[in-house]
Symmetry: C2
Subunit: 156 residues, 2 copies
């Protein structure tokens, strides 16, 4: 029954479950920190940050449908979030040439500038929280996660 190569004699199923619970706890903890940071420093939220991040990557803008698909944290009320960002002049709506019915949303220059600042601080917080992870650990994690392909790219 036991696997001599492992330091832990629990069955694989149980070990995977424990690892998942640990990963979930860590994720929750990091998210709570990020939520605090966004609220205190920018009166912002994770879903709003997430929308801005997706728009920052897509310099030419995105259709609302494409934006929804890219969101990491939660679809939430994407329309409501975008409406607020437009009100705050961080996002603009633009009409696509040759297809007047298609509307894109895009960060304004002010939005890009603000997001760059937020993203740099966000990165510093993450790097600090994960400061115990060196290049070696990261190589190992990238290797493990890359074998979870079916999780990240479901075949269905």
């Amino acid at each position: 029954m036991s696997n001599p190569s492992s330091q832990n004699e629990a069955p694989l199923d149980k070990r995977r479950l424990r690892m998942w619970i640990r990963m979930l706890r860590t994720t929750r903890f990091v998210e709570a920190r990020l939520r605090e940071f966004l609220r205190d420093r920018y009166k912002s939220t994770l879903p709003r940050f997430d929308v801005m991040a997706a728009l920052f990557r897509a310099e030419d803008g995105l259709k609302m449908s494409a934006l929804s698909k890219q969101l990491l944290v939660s679809n939430g009320n994407v329309t409501g979030i975008v409406d607020r960002l437009v009100e705050d002049r961080l996002v603009v709506r633009v009409i696509v040439e040759n297809d007047r019915r298609a509307m894109l949303v895009r960060l304004s220059p002010k939005g890009r500038e603000l997001f760059s600042k937020m993203a740099a601080e966000h990165e510093a917080i993450i790097s600090d929280l994960f400061s115990e992870m060196d290049n070696n650990d990261l190589d190992l994690l990238v290797d493990v996660f890359s074998r979870l392909k079916e999780i990240e790219e479901p075949s269905s």
Copy 2:
């Protein structure tokens, strides 16, 4: 600037950020699967499962305050969730001897039986999603996560 021992030349900050995003995506994906499973098989939810899991571990029951602290997924509306579980006869409220003001909540025998079933299926789903992780990977992950102590047990 570059670290010859690493296969990846990106700065450590950026690599940690990428790893975090990957971990967050994986967590979201697994949660979505679990949410589907709980809804389709048990007309249940993640916060409800989480409450039942905490009560399953505490056989003698928990005060509401202790229950809230243990929750993994989200505090949500713990009172509301417990009220529903009581209505469904899965949870009972009991008065503590010697301290009549203290009230505990505890799974009923029916609740324990149901949760055992749910937990076994939940474990099988997790093990399947993480089937690429063998004992070796798990040893590595446990080692990495255990060095993130300050994340799981904040010093403040």
